[in-house]
């Protein structure tokens, strides 16, 4: 790496990244401070970087009335994220390998077969009909991740990482008589680990952030995830903003309290945000260990 010259540029780089990071941090500080404020002062004075009238009331309220539900939703989210990510990474990398094999005559067909689904979709009605009536995914754990185990976007990303692996390595393995399965498991996966870590993280996020599958496929409260609880809460705001609320004459639909909104944001975001750096090194180690065994 270039060492001494151009110190100025390097300092400039550090400043750029630091400034952008601080800007990215702002809403979190606001959310944390909002969740620790009292509702009346937030309502009167708005958000601030420091809690207005410090109080744990919101959390006491949330955990007082919903502790059990929140904890169950957390564990559900965790299970779905772990199972979903593992399955998804396996399915995705395997497919990505296939479309990245040089000289495979159907690779473009497979690539197109996948890409087409990124553009065209039949809409929610047939999807819902098939998922509930024919695949019987309603109220099942599988239903909370199986539909999302192949993100075509991430699949292409992974194929891109695979393509950057020098082809000679594959060729020499082929000369040694290795089949595709062996090349995939013992060469591509370990060598593509940076890409693998990246898509694992993206998948983990996708599963953690998802509220759509629980909304569509789950009625059993045991299967609610934390994001779905969050969505449920925010749905009132959206409904009020949509103008449809006027049709429901006498119903009283109150938007959630500011503090509760902020507390829920903290509850859904902070765990994974804090875990993220650890997850990253965990994944890296896991893949190295796995590939040594393989």
């Amino acid at each position: 790496m270039p060492a001494t010259e151009n110190k100025g540029l390097l300092v400039f780089f550090y400043i750029c990244i630091a400034v952008f990071s601080v800007i990215c941090l702002v809403p979190f500080v606001l959310a944390v401070s909002g969740s620790l404020s009292t509702e009346s002062r937030i309502a009167a004075e708005g958000y601030s970087f420091w809690p207005r009238g410090f109080s744990l009331e919101t959390y006491q309220f949330l955990f007082g009335s919903k502790a059990e539900q929140i904890i169950r939703a957390y564990s559900m989210s965790l299970v779905v994220t772990v199972l979903g990510t593992l399955t998804a990474v396996l399915v995705t990398t395997a497919y990505a390998y296939v479309i990245s094999v040089k000289g495979f005559r159907l690779k473009n067909v497979f690539a197109f077969f996948a890409y087409f689904t990124m553009l065209f979709s039949g809409g929610t009605l047939p999807w819902y009909l098939l998922s509930t009536k024919y695949y019987h995914l309603g109220d099942t754990l599988l239903g909370l991740f199986i539909p999302y185990v192949l993100s075509v976007f991430l699949m292409f990303l992974m194929a891109n990482y695979f393509r950057s692996i020098p082809h000679e390595i594959v060729e020499s393995a082929q000369i040694d008589g290795a089949g595709h399965l062996r090349i995939f498991f013992s060469i591509m996966i370990p060598l593509g680990r940076v890409g693998l870590v990246t898509i694992s993280l993206f998948y983990a996020l996708q599963f953690w952030n998802d509220f759509y599958l629980p909304l569509m496929l789950v009625t059993d409260q045991e299967l609610y995830t934390i994001q779905y609880l969050m969505y449920n809460m925010m749905a009132n705001i959206q409904f009020l903003a949509s103008g449809n609320a006027a049709h429901v004459g006498g119903a009283i639909i109150a938007p959630p309290l500011e503090t509760a909104k902020m507390a829920m944001t903290c509850l859904t975001v902070l765990p994974i945000a804090i875990l993220y750096p650890f997850l990253q090194s965990f994944f890296v180690k896991g893949i190295i260990v796995g590939s040594v065994k393989g």
């Binding site: 509702e39 009346s40 309502a43 009167a44 009335s65 919903k66 539900q69 159907l106 473009n108 067909v109 197109f112 077969f113 929610t124 009605l125 047939p126 819902y128 009909l129 098939l130 509930t132 009536k133 024919y134 909304l215 569509m216 009625t219 409260q221 969505y231 449920n232 809460m233 749905a235 009132n236 705001i237 959206q238 409904f239 009020l240 903003a241 949509s242 103008g243 449809n244 609320a245 049709h247 429901v248 004459g249 006498g250 119903a251 009283i252 639909i253 109150a254 938007p255 500011e258």
Partner: protein, 514 residues
């Protein structure tokens, strides 16, 4: 080329597979229908007997969908007392499912209906008309005999509101003073008294009230809403306008079948100018153009002076505001003194049953329970005495838990309602007398079939949300913005829409007067 062929054949086989599947689906849906018609042998005629003697009722499963947040207590009761009582009364296992509000009148509700799930939930006339056109609601006409108690406690007129060409598609629930909904001004009486006023009888006094409070509390917003055409009606017209939807109003002071294209009237102009004044003055806050939910939040947290009133809002609203402003007091002022109050009917809402329901009659028997007698009403609305609430000697309510059960706005029936012990007696007296002298709108019971003008209606909604709503709320100036808006209205086909509406309404109206 080869590649393409392979790909096409794959897609074809996929389509073929699904069509096979869905044929199966159709068959099963049909067989479901056959099953239910087969089940009908126990229905209309034998209904009366079967409710008397539920031992003859075969076990059934009911799914009731409700919107909003499910409270802990509701969750408990749904599995225990509610379940038991329904099982005992009508031999059905009832299950409650809560969906987020965004799924109301569309979203998942629509998916569940379209894919043939067996459930019931509440609706409005708007959603009903659309769904019935798609065949999504069960025709409940044959089963209304299963509602012996409900039909005693719910107005006849409420039933007609949910009929389409003589068929009953939803069962109204609730019976409460509903007239002049949003036609009165709900005023923070505590603020009114603070600035030395006692009451509000006119627009001028209302504005004076704002000015005085604004001088003392500049942080408060005036009106926590964007639509005041009803509460200010008496200040910009002598007609007694009653709106059928966003575009069409009726003049209730005349006995005729003429509909009014609201946006094209002089009244709309006068109203818009009034609202423009309010917006400029700050009675409607600047942010109202952007953040409608914020208005509701502000009202709830006691940061607004007035709101649109309904009969029940003085005490319903006070319950919310008092958390932020403990001594808040709300009073309704009807600015149209002497003019009749118009009512759409006394129902709160209405339940429909999905077309695929195996046993629609049993659903009706369940609705009947909701409005059957004091005992059941207390259970569904308030829970268990001693655990969830207590009653004092006058039958006034003190809630022990704040968890809501089956929402009480939904069940609210004047024959059974219990007032909270914090509600002053004069409020209750006002509430009970609210509907005195009220008249039912001449359009009540008319439901517009929009099929011939679907495109027009959809486009009109676009013009409404972009051009007309901001004029009506005073965000844009009538003089400058209206010509363009009118041009868009015409382009979207307002004339065709009005003509179609007029045609259907006249036909219906003629039948009514016979």
């Amino acid at each position: 080329m080869n590649k393409k062929k392979g790909w096409i054949s794959l897609l074809l086989s996929a389509v073929f597979l699904l069509s096979a599947c869905s044929q199966g689906n159709n068959e099963s849906a049909n067989s479901g229908n056959v099953g239910s018609t087969g089940g009908e042998e126990t229905t209309p005629s034998s209904t009366a007997d079967s409710t008397k003697d539920n031992a003859t009722l075969a076990p059934a499963k009911l799914k009731i969908v409700l919107y909003g947040d499910e409270s802990n207590r509701m969750k408990e009761l749904a599995k225990t007392e509610f379940y038991d009582v329904v099982k005992k009364e009508i031999n059905a296992e009832v299950e409650f499912q809560f969906l987020p509000w965004t799924e109301y009148g569309g979203g998942k509700t629509d998916l569940m209906l379209s894919t043939g799930e067996d459930f019931a939930t509440y609706t409005d006339t708007n959603y009903m008309v659309k769904s019935v056109a798609k065949g999504l609601y069960a025709d409940l006409t044959p089963y209304v005999a299963a509602l012996p108690d409900l039909s005693k406690n719910v107005d006849e007129a409420s039933f007609t509101a949910f009929q389409l060409s003589g068929k009953q598609y939803a069962i109204p629930v609730g019976n409460k003073p509903n007239s002049a909904e949003f036609y009165s001004v709900l005023v923070r009486q505590d603020l009114l008294e603070e600035v030395g006023m006692t009451q509000v009888t006119s627009l001028a006094e209302l504005e004076a009230f704002y000015d005085k409070v604004h001088a003392v509390h500049p942080e408060l917003v005036g009106y926590a809403g964007t639509d005041a055409r009803r509460m200010l009606l008496y200040d910009y017209t002598d007609q007694n306008l009653y709106w059928q939807n966003d575009f069409i109003a009726l003049d209730e002071s005349v006995q005729d079948d003429k509909i009014i294209s609201w946006f094209e009237t002089e009244e709309f102009k006068a109203y818009s100018n009034l609202m423009r004044g309010w917006y400029d003055k700050g009675i409607i806050p600047k942010y109202a153009a952007t953040n409608v939910p914020q208005l509701q939040s502000d009202w709830n947290s006691g940061k607004a002076m007035i709101w649109a009133g309904t009969a029940a809002r003085p005490f319903e609203g006070a319950a919310t505001i008092s958390q932020a402003v403990p001594d808040a007091k709300l009073v309704n002022y009807f600015l149209g003194t002497g003019r009749p109050k118009i009512s759409r009917g006394t129902y709160s809402t209405a339940f429909f049953v999905s077309a695929a329901a195996k046993d629609p009659e049993r659903y009706l028997m369940f609705f009947n329970l909701l409005q059957k007698n004091q005992e059941l009403y207390d259970l569904f609305a308030y829970g268990i005495e001693g655990t969830d609430y207590t009653l004092d000697a006058n039958g006034r309510l003190t809630k022990i838990t704040t968890d809501s059960l089956i929402p009480d706005w939904l069940l609210m029936n004047k024959n059974f309602i219990r007032f909270d012990n914090t509600v002053p007696d004069d409020f209750i007296a006002d509430y009970k007398a609210w509907d005195d002298g009220a008249i039912i709108s001449k359009g009540a019971g008319f439901n517009f079939d929009n099929t011939p003008v679907k495109n027009e209606e959809t486009k009109l909604n676009g013009v409404l949300t972009e051009y007309l709503a901001p004029i009506g709320s005073g965000f844009s100036d009538y003089e400058t913005a209206f010509p363009k808006a009118l041009e868009r209205l015409k382009a979207a086909g307002i004339d065709k829409y009005i003509a179609e509406y007029q045609k259907q309404f006249s036909e219906w109206y003629a039948k009514q007067s016979k």
